[in-house]
Amino acid sequence: MNILVVDDERIVLESCARVLGDRFEVRLVKSADEAIEAMSREAFSIILLDIKMPGKDGITLMRHAKNRWPDIPVIIMSGYVTNETMKEVAETGAAIFLAKPFTPDELAEAVDQVLMKEEGHG
């Protein structure tokens, strides 16, 4: 199983890799464009996505991704969420919302939850 993590902060990318690296194949990208590139080359089981990023932000990316790969579940990571972004996230159909900062356990739990849901669907 492979997971795509999209965040402009290196420390977040590294943290995710550190926590999930044992169980999954983790691919790290620093921008939305890179993420699209990666996704068009590879199929991912889960995408972990930061909302606030320079250039294309997480919401735009998610719309794009949901359009092309509607079956890939998305976990949104964000430190600061307004009602409006929440609404947008819900409209685009993100699976789960994960508030930053998170502990390794919280991250693992979120991923497991998504996978369980997927299995149920599958």
Partner: protein, 641 residues
């Protein structure tokens, strides 16, 4: 406008006093006129009666001496013997004694025998009829009364008498021009007494007074009836005797200061008295003055109307009396009007001054002052207005302070919120790293205890940072309320249930006094619950075991700026209370009195934000050592902010 109130008041006062004064003036004048007028007419009417009585007495005063004379033995003897000189002597003495103008004797046939005066012995040419004796012979008894004597008779009696009787007729205002130039006949009071001896008529004794130019009778009337009363140098009472309509005896003054003999009676009077033979009593002009006059006809012995007896009272006396009273009335009315104007001025001043002060006070308020000078409070409705104005200014001041505070608060919240959001966002990413790596390290089994303990400390500290950041984010999150109809009592009891265990453990009693008939409130249930919980937990933190917390809900009579009605939830604790210097800062973000690590200082600030977004407010009353009351007010229909 102010002046017009003053002017209106004064005009009103003057108007009322003028109307009252004028009315009483008119009524008073009317009543006075009536009273004085009827009084004067009554008096003059009585005076005329007295004058008539005097006229009658004067007639009697002629008859009596004649009677006495005819009874004298000497007289009868002289008449029997036709002793003319003796008779003439006796006649002269009698005439002198009785003040007669003429006296004489005729024989039983009516021919004159002798008379007093210059022509004592009648000449042969004397052939005019003696109206007195002929009437006496006709009657065969004593007669007395008024006679009209012809010029011829008078001339035969005494040429001086004829001369005295002749009166030139004067032109008189208010009369028809006379056809005669002079009156030559005489009006006389006379009497005739038959002289009888042993049943034989010896002759007739006659005598009388000529009224033409006589002053005796009219002046006696003046003296007796009017007591010679004078008013402003003029006699009040006047009396006149007219032969037909010509004034032959009077004390009415003429224009040259003498007596107005020869003037005539007014046409109206002549017609009424001479032709209709009736009494006439009225206010009338006599010569140059106005008199209250009374006239009645004079009848001669044969019952023919031959003249007029008249009296008059100077009207000026009554006129002046009327005028004096009228002047007093007018004076009182004027004084009343002046007094009314003064009172009006005073009242208007009392009324207008406070209003003017209020106007200047409202200008002061417009210019920004909140302590305007409205002067001393009056005790009437204006006082109420002043009080209301004061209260209004006070309320405006409080509102202004409140909205200023609210503005400051929301600015604080907004800036702190922006700062918090920025900081939180920046901190969250590295914090994720710290959390991840600390926890990953802690998972390792090969750590010695000291390192594990250190790592644990890092993990806990980071956890605290996470909480602070979360609080900051909550604070900065200006989430719009998601409204629904909420039963406030249910919400309160479910919130109390959430913290009741905590309170129980601490030994603090929580009571809920639910208000009746509360309508559902349009609010965000979750946000509001967090507000209630926040205030309740704060209350719990302020209490000691044994203290209590009471929550009350009720319909509030307060309204918010939008005029909405609402519900009040008060949370009262009997805890330590809040020092007054802290009260102002209570809702400031990051203000906390709790120990480090036990509160972010954002709870009340966030709560206030939520309540305000509902269009409500939070009030705090507190006394150190006694406890605090937080009163949350929310409108039934929340407004959207």
């Amino acid at each position: 406008m102010l002046y017009s109130i003053r002017a209106k008041l004064i005009a009103g006062f003057i108007g009322v006093s003028f109307v009252v004064g004028a009315f009483s003036l008119v009524v008073g004048t009317y009543l006075l006129d009536k009273a004085v007028g009827s009084e004067a007419l009554m008096r003059v009417s009585l005076d005329l009666n007295s004058a008539r009585e005097l006229y009658r007495v004067r007639t009697t005063a002629i008859e009596v001496p004649l009677n006495v004379t005819t009874l004298g033995y000497g007289f009868i003897a002289a008449l029997k013997e036709r002793d003319i000189p003796d008779l003439i002597f006796r006649l002269g003495r009698m005439a002198d004694y009785a003040s007669l103008d003429f006296a004489g004797i005729v024989d039983s046939e009516g021919s004159p025998l002798c008379r007093s005066g210059p022509n004592a012995v009648p000449s042969r040419r004397d052939h005019s009829t003696n109206p007195i004796t002929s009437f006496g012979l006709e009657k065969g008894a004593s007669v007395s009364g008024t006679f009209v004597l012809t010029h011829e008779f008078l001339f035969e009696e005494n040429p001086q008498l004829a001369e005295r009787a002749r009166i030139d007729i004067m032109p008189t205002p208010g009369t028809q021009p006379s056809t005669k130039r002079a009156e030559t006949a005489g009006l006389a009071l006379g009497a005739a007494v038959p002289v009888v001896d042993d049943g034989e008529l010896l002759g007739v004794l006659y005598g009388g007074v000529l009224l033409n130019r006589d002053t005796n009778l009219v002046d006696t009337v003046k003296g007796t009836v009017f007591h010679n009363e004078e008013y402003k140098g003029r006699s009040v009472g006047r009396a006149s005797i007219f032969l037909n309509d010509v004034r032959i005896s009077t004390n009415v003054p003429s224009q040259d200061g003498g007596r107005a003999i020869g003037t005539r009676v007014a046409e109206e009077v002549r017609e009424h008295v001479l032709e209709q033979k009736d009494r006439w009593t009225r206010r009338a002009p006599v010569m140059s003055d106005w008199y209250i006059t009374a006239y009645e006809p004079i009848e001669d012995v044969r019952g023919r109307t031959v003249g007029i007896l008249g009296v008059g009272v100077l009207d000026e006396k009554y006129e002046d009396m009327r005028w004096n009273t009228l002047s007093i009335f007018i004076f009182i009315t004027l004084v009343g009007m002046v007094a009314a104007a003064a009172i009006g001025c005073f009242v208007a001043g009392r009324l207008v001054d406070p209003i003017r002060r209020l106007i200047s006070a409202s200008r002061q308020v417009t210019e920004g002052s909140l302590a305007p000078d409205i002067g001393p409070e009056s005790g009437d409705e204006i006082g109420i207005l002043q009080k209301a104005f004061k209260e209004m200014v006070g309320a405006v001041g409080r509102r202004r302070l409140e909205s200023q505070n609210r503005l400051i608060m929301s600015e604080k919240q907004a800036s702190v919120g922006r700062l918090a959001a920025g900081v939180a966002h920046e901190i969250n990413n590295p914090l994720t790293g710290v959390l991840t790596y600390t926890h990953m390290l802690l998972r390792r089994k090969d750590l010695d205890e000291e390192v594990r303990a250190d790592l644990q400390t890092i993990a806990e500290a980071t956890e605290r940072v996470r909480k602070i950041v979360k609080g900051l984010l909550d604070f900065s999150r200006q989430t719009a309320p998601h409204r629904e109809k909420v039963d406030v009592n249910k919400l309160v009891s479910s919130t109390i249930a959430l913290m009741e265990n905590q309170a129980l453990v601490k030994g603090v009693n929580v009571d809920f006094d639910a208000g009746d008939n509360l309508p559902p409130v349009n609010m965000d249930r979750n946000q509001f619950q967090s507000v209630l919980l926040n205030v309740l937990i704060n209350g719990l933190d302020a209490t000691e075991p044994g203290d209590s917390i009471t929550v009350r809900t009720r319909n509030s009579d307060q309204v918010n700026e939008a005029g909405q009605e609402g519900v009040e939830i008060s949370i009262t604790d009997s805890g330590c209370g809040i020092p007054s210097e802290h009260l102002n800062k209570l809702f400031d973000p990051f203000f906390t009195t709790k120990e480090v690590g036990h509160g972010t200082g954002l709870g009340l600030s966030v709560s206030l934000g939520i309540v305000q977004r509902h269009g409500g407010s939070i009030r705090v009353r507190s006394k150190v050592g006694k406890g605090s009351t937080f009163t949350i007010w929310v409108p039934f229909e929340g407004k959207v902010i």
